[in-house]
Structure formats: C-alpha cells, structure tokens
C-alpha cells in the first residue's frame, strides 16, 4: 500500500480541507455502521459533493492500491459500510440531488446520497411513489439500497430494489465510468443493471440511478390480528398465500417485539396476544372490497384472538408505527443486539420459528422476531450484553445456528441486508465452491486490485485487515 502522505496529498487535490476528515475525533463517527459490534478506523473520510470528486477519489485509490468503502447513511445491518484499515471512506450523503423526475415516463434519476423516502416525497404530487420501503427509509440512501438490494415490508407484491432500478451510471473500481440499462422497462442486453444492484459495492460506486416509479395505491385495507402463538400467526400467513391473495405486505411481530413496541410508541395490540400479524391490501377502489372480504374470512378461520382494522390513513399509520419502531424498540430492551435476515420457504415458517425458540433457550439469550412473513424473510433480533464475558460470542454462535437452519430448509442467509462483513463465513455454506469462484471471478474482472469495499461478501478474513470486535460498541438505533 502507498505511503499515507501520498494518499493524503492526492485527496487534498480533490476536495478542500474541510471536506477531508483525518483526525481521530473526526473519523470516530465513521468507525461503525448499524452493525455496531464491529469497528474499524479508516485513514481518511472524503465528503464528496460531486460525481467528479467521487470518480477522482476512486482513480486515486486505484492508482495507489488503497481500498475504499462507499458510505451513505451507515444504516447497513450487515456491516456493509464498515471501514477498511488503511482505507478511505467515500461519503456520498452530499450527492443528494434528484436530477430528474418525469411523471410521463414514471422515472426519477437520482444521485446515490438521496434518501429513500425523499424520492417518494418528490413523486407524490404526481400520484407516484418509489415502492421499496426499508424500515430505515427516512435515513437510508438510494446508493446503499443499490449496494445491498434492499427490501422492505412491501416487497411481497412490488419486489426489491433491483426490481425498481432501470439503469445506472457508475464508476468501477478501476476508475472507468460505465452506463448500464437506460430509462425503458425493456432492454436488448443482458441485465447488467440487475447484476450491479446487490453487488455490495464490490464493483464500484453508482453515481446516477434511474428509478421506476409506481402509482400510489388508491385504497388500502390493513388488518392486525393477534394470535396466541407465533406459529399460529405463521400458519395464517401460509393460509393467506395459499388462498391466492396477493397482499402488499404481511408482517409478524412476536411477544418480545409486541412488548417493546407497546412500551416505545404505545402501540395497542389485542390483549393476551403472543404474536400479531399485519396484512395490508392495496387495490383500486372498486376492487378492494372483494379482496377485503376474502381476507377477513381467512383471518377469522385462522383462529385470531383479536383483530384491529384500518381503512383511514391515520389508522393505517398507527398500525405501521408499532411495526416500524419495533427494531429500535427492541433495542431498548437490551444493551446490544444482532439481527439476522435469513429466508425460509413460507411453508416452513412455523417450523423455523419453533427452532429459533429452542435455540434461544439452548444459548440462554432472548430472541425477538419482527419479520416480513409473506416473503419468509425472518428477522430474529438476538439480545445480548457485550460487557458480559463471552456473551457476544454466544450471540454470534446462535446467529450462525439460525443461518444454518435457513440453509438447511432450502432458504437463504440474507433476504435484504446483504452478506456484508457479518455473514461472510456463511456464503460458502449456501453456495458450492464453483459458485463462489464464479462470483469471485466477476469481482476480479471488475476490480483486479480488490479495493472496492474489500472484506465484504467473500469469506477471506485476511481481506479485512485489523478489524476487530469493539469492546462495548455504542448503541446505534437501527430504524
């Protein structure tokens, strides 16, 4: 690696002094993302304000062989923006312009630092919105969503980030600028854009992204049903899916999450419920009624012990407030937590939840479940106290057992958070050596020096440098 002073000199030529962070105190805020168990101090942070500055920084890093990590709001739950020792953080929050919004073509062209929710806000006057809605959508950026193919509660019907990106301009790790896809829904090339989305920053940095916008649903119906076991809630999901309804969202919260959400935002749930299921339908006015009746019948037959329904925007928001606050609310129950996002086939949800309860007992750690049930996308939050000897290691071991369970059931180790730093060791358990080798060949073709977000996705611990578990990482609320 190049001497530090050569790197600093190069960076000073790209951005003014005030946008180049070097001192320990300045860098501290960038040591971790939402996966707070890991912390690494970078050498420098570049607060880029233009695509040109990003490109020049990448080229400098490439010339000097210095690794870089692109970073938006740092909400990654898989350690996707964890710094690399000796490397540069390229902070993209200031590239936050919506460059174009065309209601006729139903597209928005945005810079990577644009906050997810801001796209929908800008599109709202035209009756349009940007569908992917991760729980962190008030702070997370489109660039990060692209990196990790973020999901959200409404993926069930509308798909993930990759389903809403039509094209992008990016700087590859080599400093070359490419333009993939375009502004049409159709292409006559391989789906380069689809490959780029979810590549965890290992190819380079997206600079301009063309997003697809959808009409805002005309009417919706949200139902919250209580159950006396989480398995019963899981079985209700299987029943609704099998009946051929296509809800916009289906979410489950277990007893711990209910307790936390009740305390945090005074959400109200059916008394005695050990689990709640939230189901949301969206449809044109005249078509909603029939779907609503079918859903009500299914919920009734599923043995729900109490039901709240919402037809007004206010009632709907009240139901979602509890769900969307659940992560941070659960965080308050414990000094630290790890969150997994493995996926299981939907028919195995009940079994998977039962196994997680057993594993929680075996490891002596509380596990809360708040998850996208309609997709089979689990979100077990493993509560631990990092100050207690060996507890972090126990939490990690328990998390690993849950990931193994997902693989064993024919699912995936991650539905929407990405592999990142956290699940690197599990990639080769889910994929065969030839599969991982193909991923690695693509990575090397895009980034021969392996400088772009080194240490993510691939299971080589050596890549990471001196990253270590922090003694007692500061609590950061994952929204």
């Amino acid at each position: 690696m190049a001497p530090i002073n050569e790197l600093i000199r190069g960076l000073r030529a790209i951005v003014p002094e005030r946008r180049l962070l070097l001192g320990r105190a300045q860098l501290a805020a960038y040591e971790s993302d939402a996966l707070t168990a890991f912390a690494v101090s970078p050498t420098a942070v570049v607060l880029a304000e233009s695509a040109d500055e990003v490109i020049r920084t990448v080229r400098l890093c490439h010339d000097l062989g210095v690794p870089f990590v692109p970073r938006g709001s740092g909400t990654s739950l898989s350690g996707g923006s964890l710094p690399i020792e000796g490397g540069v953080i390229i902070a993209l929050n200031r590239l936050n312009r919506i460059l174009e919004l065309d209601p006729d073509r139903r597209i928005a062209v945005v810079e990577p630092g644009v906050i997810n929710l801001h796209v929908s806000r800008a599109a709202a006057p035209y009756g349009l919105h940007y569908a992917p809605d991760p729980s962190s959508q008030q702070v997370c950026t489109i660039g990060g969503n692209i990196g990790f193919n973020s999901g959200g509660a409404h993926c069930l019907k509308y798909g993930m980030t990759a389903n809403h990106v039509l094209g992008l301009k990016a700087v590859l790790a080599t400093g070359e600028v490419v333009e993939l896809g375009g502004d049409s829904l159709e292409t006559i090339e391989p789906d380069w854009t689809g490959l780029f989305v979810g590549s965890e920053g290992l190819f380079g940095i997206a600079l301009e992204i063309t997003l697809r916008l959808l009409p805002i649903a005309e009417s919706s119906y949200t139902i919250l049903a209580g159950y006396d076991t989480v398995e019963a809630a899981g079985e209700a999901v299987a029943r609704i899916v099998a009946a051929g309804l296509l809800p916009a969202a289906m979410e489950i919260m277990d007893a711990i999450a209910i307790e936390a959400a009740t305390a945090a935002v005074h959400a109200e749930y059916p008394p005695g419920a050990e689990a709640v299921l939230i189901v949301e339908l969206e449809a044109p006015r005249d078509l909603l009624e029939a779907e609503r009746r079918r859903l009500d019948d299914l919920i009734r037959e599923s043995g729900a012990i109490g039901v709240h329904t919402a037809t007004s925007p206010e009632e709907r928001a009240a139901i979602w407030r509890g769900r969307k606050s659940a992560f941070s609310a659960v965080g308050r129950l414990s000094p630290d937590y790890l969150v997994q996002d493995g996926v299981v086939p939907r028919s195995r949800l009940g079994y998977a939840l039962r196994r997680i309860v057993e594993l929680s007992r075996e490891y002596g750690l509380r596990v809360a479940n708040v998850f996208h049930a309609g997709d089979g996308n689990l979100h077990p939050l493993i509560l631990y106290d990092g100050q207690r000897e060996g507890e972090f290691e126990r939490a990690e071991a328990l998390a690993g057992r849950i990931l193994d369970l997902c693989i064993e059931l024919g699912g995936s180790i991650t539905g929407e958070h990405g592999v990142g730093v956290e699940k690197r060791a599990f990639l080769p358990r889910m994929f065969a050596p030839d599969d991982v080798d193909a991923f690695h060949r693509i990575r090397l073709a895009m980034d021969p020096k392996q400088i772009a977000n080194r240490g993510k996705m691939f299971p080589s611990l050596r890549e990471l440098g001196a990253g270590s578990v922090a003694e007692h990482p500061p609590m950061v609320e994952a929204l």
């Binding site: 006729d104 073509r105 035209y126 009756g127 990790f148 999901g151 993926c155 993930m160 990759a162 389903n163 590859l172 490419v178 333009e179 375009g182 502004d183 049409s184 829904l185 159709e186 006559i188 090339e189 391989p190 789906d191 490959l195 989305v197 009409p215 005309e218 299987a238 899916v241 051929g244 296509l246 449809a283 044109p284 005249d286 078509l287 009624e289 779907e291 996926v343 299981v344 086939p345 939907r346 028919s347 997709d375 996308n377 024919g410 699912g411 995936s412 991650t414 539905g415 929407e416 592999v419 889910m430 994929f431 030839d434 599969d435 080798d437 193909a438 060949r441 073709a445 895009m446 996705m457």
Partner: protein, 373 residues
C-alpha cells in the same frame, strides 16, 4: 453443423469442455437469436426438460431450461397461478430457458415486471465448463451476485442455461379489455402518460397505431365491469369494454405475433413514451406493421424479409430481431450499440467466458460491424 441434444447435465458440461466454440439454443422459436457459427458445436437444450420442484403453496417452481413454457403454464393454471410477465410464443413451443436468454416479455409485464423480476435462481454451465448456481429457490434473496438477472438477455453468450427457479403469482379471477379511440398518436401518448400515473392497476397498456389504446384490467368478477367502465371513462375518449373469449383471444394473438405478416422478421425495440411519436413517424412512412406495448416501453415491428435490412431506420433507437428466419450469420442487433456498457460487458464476459467459447456479446466490435453491414 454438429448438434447434440443432451438429456443429462453432466453431458452439457462435457460438451462445453470439449469444444472451443459452443452455441446453445432451445426450441428455436426465436431463430434470429441463435448465433450462426461455422464449426461450433450446437447444444440443443430441449431434452433437458421437466419441472424439478413445484409446491403450489410456496408460489415458486424450479424447472430445467428446456421445459416448454406451455407445460409450465398448464401446471400453474391447475393451481390458479400464472407467470405475470405474460411470455410470448408458448404456443409455438418456446422454452423457459429461451424466454430467459432472450429477455422476452408480453404486454402483461406492465403491472408486476418482466422475466427479470420473476426469475429467482439459475444453474448454468459457464465458458470454463463449470456448473454455476446463483440465487436460490426462495422469493427473497440478497446473497451473492444476482446471476439469475445477469442471465436474462444473455442470449447464450455467457453460459448454457440448465435450470431456472421462478416466483409466480396468483392468476387473476377475471379479465376485461378496454379499447380506447384516440385522435392519433400524439393524443394516444398524452392519454398513456396520464393513465400511467393513475392507480388503476393496469395489466397492459398497448397502442395499436395510430390511435387505438388497448388496456387490460383484472380482478374479482363482481366489480370488474364497474372498474373497467371507470378506467375507460377516465380517458375522456370513446371506449368499449370487451370480455370473454374475444378478450382472451386478443391477447393470445399478441403472444403469437398474429398481427404480423407471414414473411417477416419481428424486432423488439426498447423505447420510452417520449420517443414513441418519432419512431411512429419513421415506421408509418415506411408502412411497417407494428405495435407499441407496455405503456410505450417497447415497440414490436415486422420487417418484411424481402426488404433489405439496411433500410431499417429506428430513429436512432436500437433493436433486436427476435423472430423470423435465421439471419445467415448477420447480427440480430439493429442500430447503435450501448457504448456506455461496453467495458462492463467485456469484464463480465472475461470472467464467465474467458476463452470466448460462446458467441460474442452485443457491445463487441464484431457484433456492431456486422449489424452495420
């Protein structure tokens, strides 16, 4: 020309390893997309067929690449499910693998997305002769690079497709088609732009030039006529609602390109609403049979085989010949190449097919010059 039709995956692997030039194809329903390479080994994947896994309660299935679409659609229909991207040419015998490799969608892809949005897993043999898997069998998956999407539109140029996993959706209980008479193409574009912003859950929004819009809606039978009438009225133009066998027959005809003359090449031209009027002027002046689908995101045109392809002018747009006779070695791509993606394309090609066993990709210089000739 030597063709092999393996029925075992290991035979595909061996065939790729043993030959320096390999061209893979399915049922050849999109003949212009099968590269013509003298001396290459042709791998016909139609005997790699059958549904490997299908649990209706999961709304996913896994099938071998050579499985006919019609077989999959029949199986899904028995369980009230369907492929929402409305794939063309099922009646002609199109395979699942060919549909993925060609990235070909029907008019019904408007609402929920194309084949790229429903493929969730893939196994393919890459140019190094390795059997590679990407994605998985669950509906949501962010692990590893998204190789299933990469294979969409890869035209056998990055690997030989072996097996594919898809998510599927419940089939709507009933359909209606709304035919709207606009004053001309400009008026039709105005109405399309307006409809695109309205929360009508349109399944399809096509234009029969110059000015007839054809919309499709779906839902519960009881209220569907009310919904269709409301959508029609919202256009502010004269409209009629079609139901029943005529309704289904109309869209089936589109899947078979029944509107196109017999002796022609069908080209797919990705488009946006903004550029539609200009393309329409060019094609109308040349009297080329054509349709616009997916709210102006794609044009399908029928170029008569007796007319020299060099006359084909897409008003600066690019296209791809997908149907018709083989092209006698000419490139299926028309118009300018996406230069911006060339570096990215070359790097992916180098990674998966470093020895160039499979035919070259679109931004390859050879492909571009062939298109111009």
């Amino acid at each position: 020309m030597t063709t092999v039709s393996p029925d075992r995956i290991e035979d595909v692997v061996a065939a790729v390893r043993e030959h320096s030039r390999v061209v893979a194809h399915g049922a050849r329903t999109k003949a212009p997309l099968v590269a013509e390479e003298p001396g290459a080994l042709y791998i016909d994947t139609t005997r790699l067929r059958g549904v490997v896994e299908y649990d209706p309660g999961e709304f996913t299935f896994t099938a071998l690449a050579g499985t006919p679409l019609s077989e999959i659609q029949a199986l899904l229909a028995e369980n009230g499910q369907h492929l929402p991207f409305d794939p063309p040419l099922a009646c002609a015998g199109a395979t699942l693998g060919g549909t993925v490799a060609a990235a070909i969608n029907g008019s019904g892809r408007l609402r929920f997305g194309g084949v790229r949005d429903f493929v969730i897993g893939v196994r393919f043999v890459d140019g190094t002769g390795k059997l590679v898997r990407g994605g998985g069998k669950v509906v949501k998956n962010a692990a590893g690079f998204d190789l299933p999407k990469l294979m969409v539109g890869s035209l056998g140029r990055l690997g030989v497709l072996i097996e594919l996993s898809f998510k599927v959706f419940p089939a709507p209980p009933a359909w209606r088609t709304i035919r709207v008479k606009c004053a001309g193409v400009e008026d039709a574009v105005t109405v399309m732009a307006e409809l695109g912003r309205r929360p009508f859950d349109l399944e399809a929004l096509d234009l029969e030039p110059p000015g007839t819009l054809v919309l499709r809606v779906s839902g519960d039978e009881a209220m569907l006529d009310v919904h269709a009438a409301r959508v029609g009225a919202a256009t502010g133009r004269p409209f009629e609602v079609v139901a029943g066998a005529d309704e289904e027959g109309y869209w089936q005809g589109l899947r078979d390109f029944a509107w196109a003359p017999q002796e022609c090449w069908i080209a797919k031209v990705p488009l946006t609403l903004r550029r539609l009027p200009e393309l329409e002027r060019v094609l109308a002046a040349r009297d080329i049979a054509r349709r616009y689908a997916v709210a102006g995101n794609v044009a399908w045109l029928a170029w008569p085989v007796e007319r020299p392809r060099t006359e084909l002018d897409l008003a600066g747009l690019s296209g791809l010949f997908v149907r018709g006779p083989a092209l006698d070695g000419a490139s299926p791509w028309i118009g300018p190449t996406n230069v911006g993606a060339a570096i990215f394309a070359r790097r992916v090609k180098d990674a998966l097919d470093p020895d160039g066993r499979f035919p070259p990709l679109v931004p390859d210089v050879r492909a571009v010059s062939a298109a111009a000739s």
